[in-house]
Symmetry: C2
Subunit: 570 residues, 2 copies
């Protein structure tokens, strides 16, 4: 990590933005207080202060007991199907659901600081509109009728500031919402909150100069992952049913794993990215995707099917491909290739243990054949080159777009921002170099199909090298970003296994490459920095990958695996 | 056009390649002579010499009378469906078909110089294999069983030199055929010839340093278009049933139009490009496509349906999308937006006349509503910027890839090569600039959907500013390259109208922009260079465009238009 200053940092310019940031944050706090002042006071009294939450391994989900029993039943027990069928039957209204979820979102916010912007009045108004529709027409508007969905803030929201955590954009008011927002609206979703993402949306952690740090609900001193870490905290806190995130290097999968959720990084161009703010404008060597985080694989499946088959994003976004969400096709004997580690960075002990325990359970299924891919995987040297290529592609414009977005506000650059700006040395490549890397990428994509997916149907691997990471420490993206480069779809699923302070202590034999050293050793003296105590409460969720455009099959196998592992809805 | 020399040109290096070129060409000539020496002699006697063909407006299709009556019936009258049904019924064999088409291909070659490499022994052996299969199994291997298909040479062919007209690559022998070649083989196609493309595959004309100039069958002194000009000459000469071409700026559509054929530039990623040679390695701002040229729209339809639905290219090429070739959907009242010209370059008189006459006939159909788009199209200034952006993207690596491919042989750079290398000034862009152009492209793509395709279902426009162009004169690509940038699918279809030396004489009022001047005026003195005499025999085929991934509908409307215009199989 480079420690040199960047020319964009300017404390005096940034000072002029502080009143704007304060006003922006005050709006959310005002909404929260106004919604139910008494409830708000009870939350403030029960939930520890930020300093305590930041430093203790608190399971924040327990604060949901601040809700009434009825409200708890709604936010804890009812799936999307339950919520919609009960509304259709007149047993629940969208407004009742919205009020319960606004409360859980307030708890989520106070415990994890996951919200960027509340939309409480809009949500209540929308819920009433949906209830009126149901009463008048005796039917629902769509498969997400009255379902509270949270949105990663970087998606444009018509008439609302959309800044993607760039302080310079804090007064950027888009004229149109993102296509995905419009589609989810048409399907019946209720939007009550837009969630936090890290500075530049490029950390596997969530920390920015507008709302600060977001915490992990499983253990508040841990990171919720990122860049969709506001979503993972919100969904894991039952603050929304579905969180719509996005992923260009692991930004759906790392947070889903860190918060013990299901998440999908679909094949690109199935879900619309149109009308969103990011530093990736015009970049297409590694293409970002949107996708949902959810508490159950069934809900994730229903969401994808509804979004694609009823939402038909290709009618609005010419970059989307008209590939319907089809019925899955699993072979009678499912061959799962297992990658215990990627030959570049050795995972921490909890991950290795969870991989082994999970594989052992899967191997007992008569329908599953396990094939160890690690010995035939890319070598350490090859993986080093691939990872360096990925990192170089993220910064190949010499960070000109990113720095241009930081520059107007002069905001300070956070440690993980400096970290990613330094990927590939932060060097500007020539277009020729970029083209050669694109060609290398396409060759890898083809090799993956011909060499690996000729032998196996799916690949099971870690999502990240650690259980939920400590803040500011998510340094190595390779387990997820490898699949962004190749664009094969992934689903992350909870294993039911968590980090053990007692069991997961042994440091394995380490490789000599710089990435391995970066995650295992202290840079100052080369001593081992891994400490099992740090990861208390961190869950392990693994990553399942399938062939391109076979997202449906990855979801179907995840259902089967969840059954085998006896993992139920979060 | 820059006239300065490029460092890659080196006469002494090139001299060392001449024996390789001679050996390469001798192989094809030996095959032709050996196949039927007497027939070859009769062709040489009947077909004028190259100098005559190059300078006279000869309709070369008349030389098909060198074939026997039975052979003429096969190559002139039988569609793909006829050929396959007659084989299934035992009325024809693949070998008889192959022998007839090898003869017409030899006539095509002698009259138009359209072949890069003959595959006569391979075709005969393949035909016999197909006949044996049919006898044994009493069925056909696929929908192209025994159908002679010609291949643009730049597609890899296992074990055969594949050079894409780069002299440096004349001994490049690929280990694997292109995915498309393998798919067409599986469908039953017989490959008897690989066809010529221009130097660097980047002219809308066909001229290279290996086989020289290809001629237009409609009028041999005209250009067959390019870069798939070997295919257009071959198919128009009935030398193959289908020609598989490729298009990154008009390279299927210009040749199809110049030779009065049907051609489709499908939406990208539906037909595989995998394993081909070009100077576009790793370039994805404007994505190339493959597609067929054919004598009838029904055959083009059958080819696309067979290739996609039975060939399933996504199983072999991970860049392909699994979108089946579906049944078309035409609205009851079809709204066709008409673009008489693009507001940047005024077409030559024959094109304007053909547009008007065609629109007048279409307007009589009760199912069609005509909407003039020209007044609401992009302004001259906007079109200038768009066209400059397109040209800049073709050369945005500062031509490093292209020049690197020329350099080893030192081959001379042809005038149209210098022309395209100078697109956008031939300047190397930064990755930042490239990204901003990508973003501009995506904004245009969206605007096309929202602004234009909200008002019309299809857009009818010229394919090129002239009827078949004179050699070395295809300077402006805008009518076709605009759609490569936006990636909306196009079909080119014959109108039944040809250039008239008498009618198409009037020079319209010209605009002042450099592209208009480039095509209408002599650079030396600014006098008008357009001369109606030059275009004698040039046909007019127009371009129909539909929404992305609605290729099927564009084909269906083309069928309807061909019926209205009473244009039958070529």
């Amino acid at each position: 990590m480079s420690t040199e200053g960047y020319l964009t940092e300017d404390a005096s310019k940034f000072a002029t933005y502080k009143p704007l940031i304060d006003a922006y944050n005050k709006d959310s706090l005002d909404q929260v207080r106004a919604f139910d002042p008494k409830f708000y006071e009870s939350c403030v009294a029960a939930i520890p202060d930020a300093a305590t939450l930041d430093s203790e391994p608190i399971d924040a989900r327990k604060f949901l007991n601040l809700l009434s029993e009825d409200e708890q039943r709604i936010v804890n027990d009812l799936t999307i199907s339950d919520l919609t069928s009960k509304q259709l039957a007149g047993e629940l209204t969208a407004e009742i659901i919205a009020r319960a979820y606004i409360k859980s979102a307030i708890v989520a916010q106070l415990a994890t600081n996951c919200v960027m912007q509340f939309l409480i009045p809009e949500a209540l108004s929308r819920a009433k509109e949906l209830d009126a529709y149901r009463e008048t027409h005796q039917k629902l508007v769509g498969p997400l009728h009255g379902v509270p969905v949270s949105l990663k803030e970087q998606m444009n929201y018509k008439g609302k500031a959309t800044h993607a955590s760039y302080v310079s954009y804090i007064n950027n008011i888009p004229e149109n919402s993102a296509v995905s927002v419009d589609i989810l609206h048409k399907l019946g979703a209720v939007f009550h909150a837009r969630t936090a993402q890290p500075q530049a949306i490029m950390h596997l952690d969530t920390w920015n100069n507008i709302t600060g740090r977001t915490r992990n609900p499983c253990s508040t001193r841990l990171s919720p992952g990122g860049s969709s870490g506001g979503e993972s905290a919100m969904v894991a806190m039952h603050g929304s049913v579905i969180g719509q995130g996005s992923d260009i290097g692991g930004s759906i999968r790392a947070p889903a794993a860190f918060a013990n959720l299901y998440g999908i990084r679909p094949t690109t161009r199935r879900i619309s990215l149109m009308n969103g703010l990011s530093g990736g404008k015009g970049q297409e060597s590694i293409v970002a995707v949107q996708g949902p985080l959810a508490r159950s694989i069934d809900e994730l499946d229903l969401f994808m099917k509804s979004y694609i088959n009823q939402g038909k994003p290709w009618l609005y976004d010419p970059l989307c491909v008209p590939v319907p969400w089809r019925e899955p096709e699993l072979p009678a004997k499912i061959k799962i290739g297992v990658l215990y580690q990627d030959n570049l960075v050795t995972p921490y002990p909890a991950i290795t243990r969870a991989m082994k325990e999970t594989v052992a359970k899967l191997a007992e299924s008569p329908d599953i054949e396990i094939i160890d891919l690690t010995p035939q995987w890319y070598s350490e040297e090859e993986m080093f080159d691939i990872n360096f290529a990925i990192e170089s592609l993220y910064t190949c414009d010499g960070n000109k777009v990113q720095l241009g977005m930081f520059e107007p506000s002069g905001e300070p650059l956070l440690p993980l921002t400096r970290h990613f700006l330094n990927f590939g040395g932060g060097k500007e490549l020539s277009i020729y170099d970029n083209r050669m890397l694109n060609a290398k990428r396409d060759a890898l994509k083809t090799e993956m199909l011909q060499k690996y997916f000729s032998k196996v149907d799916f690949i099971l691997s870690p999502t990240y090298l650690a259980p939920a990471e400590m803040p500011k420490q998510s340094l190595y993206w390779g387990y997820t970003s490898f699949w962004n480069l190749l664009d094969y779809p992934n689903v992350v699923f909870p294993t039911g296994i968590s980090h053990s302070v007692d069991k997961d202590t042994e440091v394995p034999t380490l490789k000599a490459n710089k990435y391995e050293k970066m995650v295992w050793l202290n840079p100052s003296d080369g001593s081992v920095k891994y400490d099992a105590q740090n990861y208390e409460g961190g869950p392990v969720a693994l990553q399942l990958t399938g062939k391109r455009f076979c997202d449906e099959d990855v979801v179907a196998l995840t259902k089967k695996i969840s059954d085998i592992l006896k993992v139920t809805r979060r």
